[in-house]
């Protein structure tokens, strides 16, 4: 069993190490601890902590650094969130100034704000609405056989895509197709729409169109884009600051992962962030995560809720030696602020 003083020692080792990045020795601790004991006493406590596997030495005569187990223990038992400063609140407010046309713009902006605030890397994910409905579908002919397909969902998101019609398709056919979509699919949830798109709709279209395949492709495409989760990343380049000069390889892998905008990115983020959880804020240490992607890094994830409009997620990637209390406090304030902004947006919308 650990004594109270030993816990203090552990806490201070982590605090000091996250600040300076240097292993911390018994003499230095002596000055920093609230209780005043000699360095020899602290050494004894440190030996106990080392026996528990909470701290370790970098070499036989060095100061101590926290082990993964030590961080874990600290995060689970010892850390206390720090209050956000007025400066930070002001920065958040200012970041959210300006007008937004889409929810996604707010979510994207929040990744930027968060990364600016922390100098780490932020990932945000919009509120996930399970019962999102299709509220409208348009095809706008633009001449030269080009049409723009526009799909609107019940959360106000708009997805559009340009498309070139095969020359044999007549405008009357297209009109009928749109009518079918609007009669049959509008008002249903996106899941139902996707299902019907497989089953009934092709048959219906066949009655009125000679070759509905291209049209189905197009619609399916836009639908997929509207339904899929979009991650926004802010401060990718901050990685370069806190990933030591070493490990260029990891840096490249991470940047590449954030750079490409393909499905693989979404997949990677999904497994990385994990599903929505019910605790407000969760800290995962890189070495605890499945593969070596985040070695030496930590991942903080936080949920936010926009009432019936769903629940979303924000995440922060930073070095394992980060000032956790500060970051946890910040993230907690930020999730509430973001939730408020989004609620406001929806209200303004519904009114």
């Amino acid at each position: 069993m650990l004594t109270k003083r030993q816990l203090l020692v552990l806490k201070q080792i982590i605090r000091s190490y996250t600040e300076t990045g240097q292993p911390v020795g018994s003499k230095a601790l002596m000055a920093q601890l609230p209780v005043h004991v000699s360095s020899a006493t602290i050494r004894n406590d440190m030996a106990a902590l080392e026996d528990e596997g909470l701290i370790r030495k970098t070499h036989s005569s060095s100061g101590r650094v926290p082990s993964t187990k030590g961080y874990r223990f600290y995060l689970d038992n010892l850390v206390e969130p720090a209050a956000v400063t007025p400066n930070e609140i002001a920065a958040i407010q200012q970041g959210f100034g300006g007008h937004f046309y889409k929810i996604d713009e707010i979510v994207a902006q929040s990744a930027r704000i968060l990364s600016n605030l922390t100098n780490y890397t932020a990932i945000t994910l919009g509120p996930e609405v399970t019962n999102l409905k299709l509220t409208g579908f348009r095809l706008v002919p633009l001449g030269n056989h080009q049409v723009m397909a526009i799909l609107v969902t019940s959360n106000g998101n708009v997805e559009s895509q340009l498309f070139t019609l095969p020359p044999e398709v007549g405008s009357d056919e297209v009109e009928k197709a749109i009518r079918i979509i609007n009669d049959e699919l509008v008002g249903l949830s996106l899941g139902e729409v996707a299902q019907k798109l497989q089953s009934e709709v092709p048959g219906l279209l066949f009655k009125y169109m000679t070759s509905p395949d291209g049209f189905l492709d197009l619609f399916g495409n836009v639908l997929r884009k509207a339904a899929e989760e979009r991650f926004y990343v802010g401060g990718r380049l901050n990685l370069m600051d806190y990933l030591g000069d070493s490990d260029v390889d990891q840096l490249k892998r991470l940047l590449a992962m954030m750079d490409n905008d393909q499905g693989s990115q979404r997949q990677a983020f999904n497994t990385l962030l994990g599903p929505l959880h019910d605790s407000h804020i969760k800290v995962k240490l890189g070495s605890e995560l499945t593969p070596d992607v985040l070695e030496n890094l930590s991942l903080l994830t936080a949920n936010y809720s926009v009432g019936e409009h769903g629940t979303g997620m924000i995440a922060l990637i930073g070095p394992t030696q980060m000032p956790y209390s500060k970051m946890i406090g910040l993230l907690d304030a930020f999730r509430e602020e973001l939730a408020k902004r989004l609620t406001d947006y929806y209200n303004h919308f519904d009114q």
Copy 2:
């Protein structure tokens, strides 16, 4: 005056240095040169080249590396473009496989192809059409006071933007505004449109709308997006490979410049790449360029022409020690291929 053999020596020094990155000494050269002379003779030649400022030593007893002046001389007089390999041609063909809906998609894809091919960083710019015309403008109401504005230009580019109408604007007003736009502005060049948007149009709109300001803003916004030049960057992350581990600062500046998608990026690229030139391919050495942005790097720019559809530009950023003959050959082949693809696209369009 330089002798023939001295030119050979210079050429080989550059070849060898661009391959290995190591200063090259007289003994090594002895084995590589087509003429067989002793190392002492080569040393004499090297001394002459050094007197001319074409090569220099990294320290008093080291091998030689090309100086900026040496590279310049080599590029102006000695370099001979290498032929592209069948492999490379195949890679280009494959990269251009698949279907494109917009010119910009082709241009963006070409940046990716070029960077994959070279492992450097590619920047591409679409054909600049001075007499681009406005061929259509639509406003699609989507419910909830949202409208999507769509603008089509004569090169087939489509620009769209979501917009929220102030509640006091009626749908009949909007319809009238669209009619005015289509009557007055469609068919004019974008420049003329922008001009009229300042002069006549506001007055016209005032007759039919109570508050045309928001509408004018919207239209101006989309117009600006359609008119502005878009740069596409491929292989940003390759910078990390060829910018030595040193100079992390420069790396960050460059990545940041390529990352942000704001107007400042366009500005930076514009001054960096310079105006369209008439020589097919131009090589600028980093140290020759205005400030220190590209220290140790080279910038290759090439023009391509799509007949009456305008002229565009592709650029390649790589280390100053790059295999110029290979890269110049490659870039030359690529510009022709890209021109062909774009011509095909336009033809298919016009037909």
